[in-house]
Structure formats: structure tokens, C-alpha cells
Symmetry: C2
Subunit: 119 residues, 2 copies
DNA sequence: TTGTAATATATAAGTTAGTTATATATATGA
DNA sequence: TCATATATATAACTAACTTATATATTACAA
């Protein structure tokens, strides 16, 4: 379980992933986000800092998130959390991602006799 | 069922989609590919010609596909099919896409008590 | 004690996969 | 005759990344 997912495929998914995490966890800092993404994806998704911080800055600029700075262990930590507007946007992006996954699922899983069910 | 999937999310998925179709259908021409993608995705994925043809030309240049030209109804049609090398590459790309979908599925579907089963 | 890895953020330069716009040409039906 | 469908092609642009670099503290091992 080590093969990373290629960055071409991941392109466009990073922002939704970040919004989803913020939606679920409420308050996170950048470094924490990269660690969680790596852990949750079992190492298959690695968010580089060169991608992460520009995305976070843009989200702040667009008033999707607000920041709080804290000094922890003498190091600066910037916490991000969704604004009300950002929370709505987040729901939208998550729905869009789910539609994307469902649609690609149809295209890539033509295996018959397999469906979703409650267990 | 009309909302198109955003091009940001789709970025990187178009090539795998094309390879998957060629793998399944054997021989297709460009216009046909766009129609099938639109139909299979219920209108949610629209492959523009500005994206399609450069991808097909690159696949040919990389010897992933070979072409056959035919005149149908006085119009030129360029058929594409996978080379043996392309067929291998295709399997690889399809596996990668499946891993991608599975991983994003984990991140975006934390709903419990729902699993895959045979019907 | 010295150096490496982990923690933490930031940004500039380059790549590339797409979009948008445009071009060409035939067939079909209103 | 005029719009729509069929069919391919490419040039110019955009944006989301990668790669590389920079800075600074903490923790741990040789």
C-alpha cells in the first residue's frame, strides 16, 4: 500500500479534500492537514507544501476560511477554520466531489452483480 | 441530472477515460468518444475537442494507439485503437484510476454501515 | 556536540493539462 | 437557405499543480 496517486489525477481534488477535512474537524493548521491526508489515504495522497499553502492563502483571501495564529513550542502555527460562507461552499464542493466519484465509478466499474447495500 | 462535473476535478481523468473506452470497445474515432463519454456519464462529463484531439495525437505519438483513416459519408474519420504496448499502459492507468477512486471514496464517504456486496 | 529528522510556514519559477476560440468541410432536415 | 449534426484540427491562454528554495525551532541519536 505504498503507490502514490499521480498528481495529474489529484489535480483539482486537493482543495475539496482540504475543505472536507476542515468541515469535519473544525480547526486545523497546515502541517496537520498534510499529515492527516497522508494518514487517511494510507500514504497514497501526499499534499506538498508548495500546493498546500497557496491553496490555504487563497481560501483565506476568498473568505472561505479565517485564521488564528498561535505560538506552540516557540513555533508559529496558523489555524484555519471555515467561515459560514465557507461552510456552504464546502458542502457544495463535497457534493460535487461525490458526483464526480459516482460518475467515474460508473465509467470504471462495469462489473455486474455488484451494488451498494446496507449491512 | 444535468450538472456538469467541473473541469478542475476532471483534469487528469480524461486520458484514463479515453484509454478505458478504447480498451473496452476496441476501435473508436474521436467524435464517437466524446458522444459516448457524454452518454455514459449522463451529460456530466463533456469532453471538448480542444482537449480530445491533442490527447489522441499525443497517444499516437507515444505509440499507445495506432490510427486508421476512413472516408465515411465523404468525411474523414480517424479510428484509434490500442497497440499492445498501449493495452498494457491502459491496464496500468485503469488500475491507477481505481485506486484513486477508492482512496477518495474513503476520504469522502465516512458513512458507516454501508458496504459493497453481491446481489 | 554536531548533525539529521521532524515540526512549521512561505514563495518564486516552471510545467502541463486543460479551456476558449477559431478554422475547415460535408450531410441533413426545417 | 440556414441552423444543426458530423468530423477533425490547432493556437493562445489559464490555473493548478510540482520543484526548488528559504527560514526557524525542537528533539533525538551518533
Amino acid at each position: 500500500m505504498k503507490n502514490k496517486i499521480s498528481s495529474e489525477l489529484l489535480k483539482g481534488s486537493l482543495k475539496p479534500i482540504i475543505l472536507k477535512l476542515l468541515k469535519e474537524q473544525g480547526r486545523m493548521y497546515g502541517y496537520e492537514i498534510t499529515q492527516q491526508v497522508e494518514e487517511l489515504s494510507k500514504g497514497k495522497i501526499v499534499l506538498t507544501y508548495g500546493a498546500l499553502y497557496p491553496i490555504l492563502h487563497k481560501l483565506e483571501n476568498d473568505e472561505i476560511v479565517i485564521t488564528e495564529q498561535e505560538i506552540v513550542n516557540n513555533r508559529t502555527r496558523v489555524y484555519y477554520k471555515l467561515t459560514p460562507k465557507g461552510s456552504e461552499k464546502s458542502v457544495e464542493k463535497i457534493r460535487e466531489m461525490e458526483a464526480f466519484l459516482q460518475t467515474l465509478g460508473i465509467l470504471f466499474k462495469p462489473s455486474p452483480n455488484v451494488g451498494l447495500c446496507n449491512t
